[in-house]
Symmetry: C2
Subunit: 194 residues, 2 copies
């Protein structure tokens, strides 16, 4: 067994915790997207899971019941949409390793897709829920690319102090609880000031 360092203590000022509420980040992101849509701030949706439908029956007129289907591997990330005129594309990750985020958590098709989006001028990133410090970090694609490059010859993960340094922490609030577009703002601002 690996002897992980003791996780950092949760700051007292952070009242709402993703972890304590036992909700998966995806659900909170869906909630945020619903909020953004209703308040006319952005149009961002989760893509449905792709399924290969093999069998369908019609128990009643106009009602199709799928009787056999299988999960297919997606060719994109799970979330995309538009915000302030920009194409936004990201995936959501849960990280339960306190000391680092193992890069094997990211699938090849996701990397390829984010790379294409970034190349065509979109805003590509990961949202990583780091369970040990109960923080959600936005990690821009440029940095993800940097760490993937490093992993070819060295370390296969992103250290906690690295994500703290290069990531944008998503502040938790009331509505929406995970207001991740604020972190996108910070990221876009930094990006455009280069």
């Amino acid at each position: 067994m690996i002897n992980y360092p003791t996780p950092k203590k949760r700051p007292a000022e952070r009242k709402v915790s993703v972890k304590n509420r036992g909700m998966r980040l995806e659900k909170l992101i869906d909630e945020a997207n619903q909020y953004y849509l209703e308040h006319d701030l952005a149009v961002i949706h989760k893509k449905p899971t792709p399924l290969q439908v093999v069998g369908v029956s019609y128990p009643s007129r106009n009602k199709a019941k799928i009787t056999e289907a299988y999960y297919r591997t997606p060719s994109t990330t799970d979330y995309n949409g538009i915000y302030k005129g920009a194409y936004i594309d990201f995936d959501v990750k849960e990280n339960r390793t306190p000391s680092s985020f193992p890069l094997k958590n990211i699938q090849d098709h996701q990397i390829k897709h984010l790379d294409g989006v970034h190349h065509h001028g979109g805003v590509a990133f990961l949202l990583i829920h780091w369970h040990s410090d109960e923080t959600v970090y936005l990690l821009g694609y440029e940095w993800l690319k940097h760490y993937l490059k490093r992993s070819e010859t060295g370390r296969k993960s992103i250290r906690h102090d690295e994500i703290q340094s290069v990531g944008f922490a998503v502040k938790e609030g009331f509505a929406p609880r995970i207001d991740y577009l604020k972190a996108v703002d910070a990221y876009m601002e930094k990006d455009s000031s280069k």
Copy 2:
């Protein structure tokens, strides 16, 4: 029965026909998107159909078989992605009425979604395969909105001469057969020159 006018004759110079090949426009758009992706021109994907999964069985380890699922109504259009830094969003329609395109072919959630995309600065449109003249037209959201507005008190469809005037005809070619990004170029150019 409505006595439709005789459809216009197909121009002699157009060699490849969507109709004659008996392919649905969606399939040709998927083919075009694959081409754009492979040639690094754009990242545009069809969204999977949303399904509500009710029953799953595991006939073997690591293999999930869905035994009961139902189709759900999507909340967006079918296609989106990024092209030349712009957020692209559209839906595809088959129109078999020679004289006009009935607006009832567009669902409320699609209109609402395209309106949001347009509002946030995205490129929103329909691709309409007009069977009678074997042409695919790009109809920008502004014009769609105009005709929807008109339909509140008047005509509930877009006439053939109207789509010819305000739509951008997609030229058919070899690879991809439906090179719809050329029409998007023309549309974006017109849009930015306003």
